[in-house]
Symmetry: C2
Subunit: 455 residues, 2 copies
């Protein structure tokens, strides 16, 4: 928890009590410090940042927004940069690099020592969103023949530079992974045990080119602290830790939520996002969807005279479009999440289509029956509307059944299609689907109207 | 990873090679075993389950679906139940109890030893979805005066029964929490250090009545392995571990995704969910939304004759409804996620409303201008549609601006309202909002049409 308030910090700064500030800041957590610093005017941030202990400074830096990070990097001296980058883990450095413009990236890489620079370059070679691109290369490797005390010596020696010490990786020369052992296993074992006797050999691993969300979900499913990442030869190249997996899943979920609401993702929480940023994230989608509704409008316009002649049909347009939109959204969200969580892969498309046709068929027929009953009881009997003939009830109900079925099929197929053309399936969420389904449901409606009502 | 396939297991069962089966199953992870067993016919599950080592059996049991869990519990003998419950952590037992019907709950509680039964009853007293209801009471407590070797002795002694050993809690008599210390700190410390010298005293804690999602997000933000839960007197009553937090956030996100797609959440992945289960989850919402569109229909019907007289207005209905629905969804999803993540609380409602009115105002005016331009260029000039008069353009564009503004206001307020009446804000997602916004946008449209077009 934050122990110093912004007001207390301001007071200390006024009084130039730097030792007290240094002492106070060093008690805080990195997340809180980043927030505290971001609330300060820029000219105060660098001097305050310099008061932080090196490790905490690096952690705090990583919690800041990208704009401030960029500004700070450009302002830092070479030796300050070396100190900062030296305290950062390789995976965090890579994350940072991926957010920064080219000039800043150069400065970051130049500040890394040769071994780290090499690791950074290796990780940058892996495809975006792959396990390789999010792993860190700083882990503890043990040998099977090690005794407990040898293992603990190694852990103590490289522990401060490893992202997690609690899961250790047992390799043979050449870095081939043969087992994992936890510090819990080591601590609870008998004194004369060797690492080889304690290690688990049924390994849960990730491959460098696997999707980062799938890998993060594997960590969650198996309840792991970290997952080893191996290359195609089974050689250990890095690890993904549970805290990174947790962040990856949370970020991806929030991005999917944004896309489903037809909003571009924003970097910060709602409270911290400005009106202008919200506008920028939302307006392009709204404009696109509003303009694309032109097609729906054109379909109605082409049928305008006939609708004017049988005006009772107009009243059912919103119901038909909404039912189609909602049915499509149900199917598309199920497929989008399935693809995100690794439950579905592109080759499942046909199987999913058949399932959705079954669900859509049952839902469509039952909805149509309920709707026919409602029109009969409410519109015809209760309100005695003479325009709601049996034929009108038939046209509306048949359209409803077919629209629901069609919407399910379109809704489940479009995310697969997006995946095929390497778009994020989540862009095929409710708003896009409903724009398409609207047009199709109107065509079905008017088709049936022409056939049965002889318009 | 699974090392035995279903076919290999079937072959071993045919050959009655129980020792080999026992050996093979003991190599598997609990998640995989649960899947393997669920694929077997029921009469085989119990005998196979009995072959598992006790700890693995309990973990496997916890990974099964609730239907199978219930069936197994009803079939187990008292001694089997005691063995099973004895291996489970208190928080997992409470989770299980919350899913089971009363008769089964009685059998579970009767199988717990008195100390555990006491802990279970304590946890069951906390409100649903609170930190208290998801915590476990099995943690390692140390004293500040302990030396390293005393601390490690304690860890070794109670380690097997604790859900995590990597974060230990430092208390004074009476269970007041004064610090936390990690096994990493202890391992990397100098030999003569005491726990009190190593412990962190700036504590990140949860209170028993805090929402479980907020607490889980706190674990993620601070990158913790576990979070202590304290009561109102600051006494340590339990902990929430990172793996549980990860599960909580994932489950809550998936539930929110379901609700946003107007689907009841399903227990399993899409692939494992049957057509009938999908139907049951989706149909009630579809029916509700379809029937509620009756109101929209009624509004149009009451305006039917006037629409027939000025048929050009009909074509813009879908565009206006969609823009309203999408604008409302953007605002509601932002607020729903803000409430879920603890970024927003009910008293923020007014501040959020003002922000959304600002965003909605800018978006609405700009969209209306774009739309007016499009109608002028496309409908009037390109298609030379004589019905699209300047007054029609004015009516449509004004409606668009006002609809977007109104949709943002409604969209951001309804989730707060849901929270106030203790409903899940996520039920106020796109489908519900758009049904309401549809009706309001039509009233605005027809209101302007009557005023400006003198219908």
């Amino acid at each position: 928890m934050r122990t110093i308030t912004t007001e207390e910090l301001d007071a200390l700064i006024e009084q130039k009590r730097y030792a007290a500030i240094k002492q106070a800041l060093s008690q805080e957590y990195a997340v809180d410090l980043a927030q505290l610093l971001e609330e300060q005017p820029y000219e105060r941030i660098v001097p305050l940042f310099r008061l932080l202990p090196k490790g905490l400074a690096a952690d705090t830096f990583l919690e800041m927004g990208t704009d401030l990070q960029e500004r700070l990097i450009l302002g830092f001296s070479d030796s300050e940069m070396r100190a900062l980058v030296g305290e950062m883990y390789v995976d965090d450095t890579v994350d940072l690099i991926e957010e920064m413009p080219a000039g800043v990236v150069k400065k970051i890489i130049a500040s890394a020592d040769p071994a780290m620079r090499n690791d950074i370059n290796e990780i940058l070679k892996y495809p975006k969103d792959s396990a390789g691109s999010v792993m860190t290369t700083e882990y503890i490797a043990l040998r099977a023949a090690m005794t407990l005390s040898e293992a603990f010596d190694k852990i103590r020696r490289v522990g401060t530079d490893s992202e997690t010490i609690y899961t250790c990786y047992v390799t043979v020369p050449g870095r081939k992974l043969v087992g994992v052992v936890t510090v819990k296993d080591l601590l609870l074992a008998k004194q004369d045990a060797t690492v080889g006797e304690l290690m688990e050999t049924n390994l849960i691993v990730a491959h460098t080119d696997e999707n980062k969300e799938e890998v993060s979900n594997r960590i969650r499913e198996y309840g792991l602290m970290a997952l080893p990442v191996v290359d195609k030869d089974g050689l250990l190249v890095g690890i993904v830790t549970v805290d990174d997996a947790f962040d990856i899943i949370s970020e991806e979920s929030e991005e999917d939520f944004s896309k489903m609401a037809a909003t571009a993702p924003t970097e910060t929480t709602y409270t911290k996002t400005s009106v202008f940023t919200l506008f920028k994230a939302r307006f392009p989608w709204l404009l696109l969807l509003t303009l694309s509704a032109t097609f729906t409008g054109a379909i109605i316009s082409s049928f305008e005279e006939k609708l004017a002649a049988c005006a009772v049909l107009i009243g059912f347009i919103p119901m038909l479009m909404n039912s189609g939109g909602n049915s499509g959204a149900q199917a598309s969200v199920a497929v989008i999440r399935g693809l995100s969580l690794g439950d579905l892969v592109p080759k499942d498309a046909l199987r999913v289509l058949l399932k959705e046709i079954a669900v859509g068929g049952i839902c469509g027929v039952l909805l149509a029956l309920c709707n026919a009953l409602k029109m009969l009881l409410v519109d015809r009997l209760l309100f005695a509307n003479p325009d709601v003939t049996v034929w009108v009830i038939l046209v509306v109900s048949l359209t409803l059944a077919l629209t629901v079925l069609m919407a399910k099929a379109v809704g489940c197929l479009l995310p697969f299609l997006a995946k095929l053309v390497r778009l994020d399936p989540a862009v095929m969420a409710a708003p896009v689907i409903s724009t398409l389904v609207d047009a199709m449901s109107l065509l079905i409606y008017f088709g049936f109207a022409v056939s049965f009502l002889h318009l």
